[in-house]
């Protein structure tokens, strides 16, 4: 076979550009880059960085760390004959598959042009007849309790508030497993969750012994791979989550490439080093709703009646599925929508399966109300929340709390290069490499995460206050606070909101 300088499809779409006038030749950029995009040419006492154009994914690590600000990332021009279907993404995807014969994996959530409803929904505000409340001067409360609640006081039957899960604001850390992210990042999540009075979800990778101290604010997951589940695991959490599906890959199980399975992960997950941890698509003891009920009851009995959450992906018939899940005994339904992120998923699944979070949430909340069982389970939603306004829109549509994943990764440095599955994350987030993962300092991450939560909390109170609402409970499910813009009658009907001007 003739050797080509570059196999079609294996070039990178981006490259670093160096300002030669500013560059001092320290070579730090090359050592920051974990993907070997930057080559150093030595000239006299200087190291001259050169882009290889093979692997850059625009993670920005070199640009941020360049001491002289001499680097920026540019998109490499790829001029194609214009075509409605054979655009850059399509051509490159076919080239990549032709070169590898494999199913391309990716990280992150779907970035397709499927409508994002949040951007077509607007809030109300007080004018004249009811006063807006200034959150800087007046009390504004966001305390939220999750779990199964009685329909009336008479039916409370000795229930105490502390049997439920208390959140100081309706945010939680979305499940990201140890393995998909490293222990330092998960520890930062756990510390921040405790500090801010919220919960962190473990994901399916088990609980590393170093995090035992943070199990009282943890929701530990039981997924189809059953990684890390043993009798001890089943007693120490604040609550448990049974994972049925995931928004970034509905219908398939978790993927942890063998590259990321190193010593700690191997011990915690109880699997050999270097083996791919591919969770089965279904839970093999749940082939029906009555099987789910058995597992929920089993987890409750084993754990001493801790709340049990069931995580499902937003798919076409999600409202009926959620109803079944609540009838099966779930105390919380975790609804993971189309744009939900992941550490590794086939591109084709991420981009083509499931339905938008907004529509799923609206449909599930309404169906549970119609069936008179809304109080029996709290609704935690996830999938595509990049700012606090969207969080509040979800609360107004009916969510009890919103789970944040990607935004918290971004908070710790991520710029969204979507190569979480590679195990080479230059920011030290989605890698278990003992050297690279040291790039993440736990204290620094805790501070950044706390800042982000604090900032969003302020903004959430602002949105409540300008609607004349001092308690998040009156915001929750209050769809009259929302109006749609440019949405069809059908979309408005499903969302249960009016059009702007109505």
């Amino acid at each position: 076979m003739k050797i080509r300088p570059e196999q079609p499809g294996l070039r990178s779409l981006y490259r670093p550009v160096f300002d030669r006038a500013l560059c001092i030749g320290c070579g730090d950029c090359a050592s920051q880059c974990t993907f070997n995009e930057i080559r150093l040419d030595s000239r006299k006492d200087k190291k001259i960085p050169q882009a290889t154009g093979k692997t850059c994914g625009a993670c920005q690590r070199c640009a941020v760390f360049c001491p002289r600000g001499a680097i920026y990332i540019e998109k490499r021009p790829l001029t194609l004959h214009p075509h409605a279907i054979w655009n850059e993404a399509a051509v490159m995807h076919v080239h990549l598959q032709s070169a590898s014969g494999a199913v391309p994996l990716t990280g992150f959530g779907a970035g397709t042009t499927i409508p994002t409803y949040w951007e077509r929904i607007l809030f109300n505000a007080c004018q004249v007849t009811n006063p807006a409340i200034d959150p800087q001067r007046e009390p504004m409360e966001t305390i939220t309790y999750l779990g199964r609640k009685p329909a009336s006081l008479k039916k409370a039957d000795g229930l105490k508030a502390d049997q439920l899960l208390r959140l100081s604001l309706p945010l939680v850390f979305a499940p990201m497993s140890y393995g998909s992210i490293n222990l330092r990042l998960q520890k930062a999540f756990a510390i921040t969750a405790r500090k801010k009075g919220i919960l962190w979800y473990s994901g399916e990778g088990g609980l590393h012994e170093e995090l035992n101290d943070y199990s009282d604010c943890a929701v530990l997951q039981i997924a189809s791979g059953r990684f890390g589940v043993d009798p001890d695991y089943l007693t120490k959490a604040r609550a448990y989550q049974i994972k049925i599906g995931q928004g970034a890959k509905p219908g398939i199980g978790g993927h942890l490439p063998g590259e990321k399975v190193l010593d700690g992960v191997s011990r915690t997950r109880m699997i050999p080093i270097g083996s791919d941890a591919i969770s089965p698509a279904p839970q093999h003891d749940i082939y029906s709703i009555e099987d789910l009920r058995l597992l929920i009851n089993a987890v409750k009995e084993a754990s001493g009646y801790k709340p049990v959450c069931v995580k499902i992906a937003a798919v076409h018939n999600v409202a009926s599925i959620a109803t079944g899940v609540v009838h099966a005994g779930a105390d919380m339904v975790y609804l993971d929508g189309y744009r939900a992120g992941t550490g590794a998923t086939p591109v084709i699944v991420r981009d083509n399966v499931g339905i938008p979070t907004e529509l799923a949430l609206a449909a599930v909340d309404q169906r549970l109300r119609d069936e008179g069982i809304r109080h029996k389970a709290s609704l935690v939603v996830a999938g595509g929340f990049s700012n606090s306004a969207d969080v509040m829109k979800a609360i107004a549509l009916g969510a009890d709390a919103v789970a944040i994943g990607t935004a918290f990764l971004v908070s710790c440095g991520c710029y969204g290069c979507q190569r979480c599955q590679s195990g080479k994350c230059a920011w030290g987030l989605t890698t278990n490499d003992p050297v690279i993962s040291k790039r993440l300092e736990v204290e620094w991450a805790v501070e950044r995460l706390s800042n982000l939560i604090e900032a969003w909390h302020h903004e959430m109170k602002e949105v409540m206050g300008l609607n004349g609402i001092y308690d998040i409970g009156s915001f929750r499910g209050n769809r009259l606070l929302l109006r749609g813009v440019g949405l069809s009658a059908k979309e408005l009907e499903i969302l249960g909101i009016k059009h702007a001007g109505e």
Partner: protein, 361 residues
């Protein structure tokens, strides 16, 4: 902005509406002529055990449809037009009242007996949903709501309230802000025994309404205040809460206050109320005056963004938005009280002084 006034005689001595009229007319500045109404308890002696259903209808045909509906589901003892003086307001709906009890056989359903109250409430909701152009706006026993579009004087004269004798009176003067002024949208709002008048705007209406709808209450009157009447019916009649508990559901203490409570029992019960009834909590400014067969009480939001004053003298308790209106009802008042934010003031009839647990007369 709206005006409210109420008076109650704790010994159930009855009087006509002339005093309450003076109190509400004095507060004319608080309304704009697009709605006023009165609620009276103890007005139908001889019919005390029957539900008095007041309906308004947009046409004679709608009256007939409503009558057919009521006759299908109830045993009707008396049906008559509500007397009106139509020289005051020429363009008005048709008014009709029915004295009924549930048709006995319809209460039985496969051996499960529904309470009469529950049955009446359901049928009223069903009628308002199904019978086009007709609304039942009052359905309690021995009481009645009279309301419409006009000034308090117009509505008082239109229904000729000089001719009714009651032992508790509510009066409301409306300045509609979030919905158009129409006859059904005037206050008081009624559900069975409960009548409420409201000054304010409920920012939590969207979720209060969705909560009530999931409990079988349909909000068809296009105005936020109606949810309060249904919430009282739900919380007190159906869920068996005391007035104090219901008041702290609607205007709860802040979480910060609850979590500081020293008394463990009080703290736990307050936490539970807040958690279970989160969707029934009212946000936004409100001053509410509620009447029922056991008495009358006032409630404001817990930052008191709408006024409420109370006077207690002899066997009377008076309520009004403005102190001056209290003096219109009785000149020589000695004790005028301004309740604190979120603090209910409850006046119960003496023959009802066996209140449920946790209540103070």
């Amino acid at each position: 902005m709206c005006g409210v006034a109420g008076l109650i005689n704790l010994d159930k001595i009855r009087e006509n509406g002339s005093r309450i009229k003076r109190a509400i007319v004095l507060q004319n500045e608080r309304g704009n002529g697009l709605g006023a109404g009165y609620g009276v308890y103890g007005i139908y002696p001889g019919y005390e055990d029957l539900y008095a259903i007041h309906i308004m209808a947009s046409s004679e045909d709608a009256v007939n449809q409503a009558a057919l509906f009521i006759r299908r589901w109830f045993a009707v003892q008396k049906q008559e037009p509500i007397p009106v003086w139509d020289k005051v307001i020429i363009d008005h709906p048709y008014f009709q009242r029915f004295f009924v009890k549930p048709a006995h056989s319809s209460l039985l359903c496969y051996g499960k007996q529904e309470s009469e109250d529950e049955y009446v409430l359901k049928k009223m909701m069903q009628m308002n949903k199904e019978v086009h152009g007709a609304y039942a706006f009052s359905s309690g026993k021995d009481m009645g709501v009279f309301k419409g579009v006009g000034t308090p004087t117009d509505i008082y004269d239109f229904f000729m309230l000089d001719n009714y004798q009651g032992h508790s009176w509510l009066a409301h003067n409306r300045f509609p802000t979030n919905t158009p002024g129409w006859w059904g949208g005037a206050h008081p709002f009624n559900a069975l025994d409960w009548s409420i008048i409201h000054n304010g705007e409920i920012s939590s209406y969207g979720i209060n309404r969705r909560y009530l709808e999931s409990q079988g209450y349909y909000c068809h009157l296009q105005t936020d205040s109606e949810v309060i009447a249904y919430l009282f019916d739900l919380l007190i009649r159906r869920h068996g809460l005391s007035i104090r508990e219901a008041a702290s559901v609607l205007a709860p203490p802040y979480w910060a206050t609850v979590e500081r409570m020293a008394d463990r029992e009080e703290k736990e019960s307050q936490q539970l109320l807040k958690i279970i009834y989160e969707q029934a909590m009212l946000n936004g400014p409100f001053a509410v005056l509620a009447a029922f067969s056991g008495g009358m009480f006032s409630l404001t939001d817990n930052t008191k963004l709408r006024p409420m004053t109370v006077a207690i003298q002899d066997n009377y308790t008076y309520f009004a938005s403005e102190v001056s209106a209290l003096y219109e009802m009785q000149e020589d008042l000695r004790q005028v009280v301004t309740p604190r934010a979120g603090e209910p003031v409850v006046a119960l009839y003496r023959d009802n002084l066996e209140p449920r647990e946790g209540e103070v007369a």
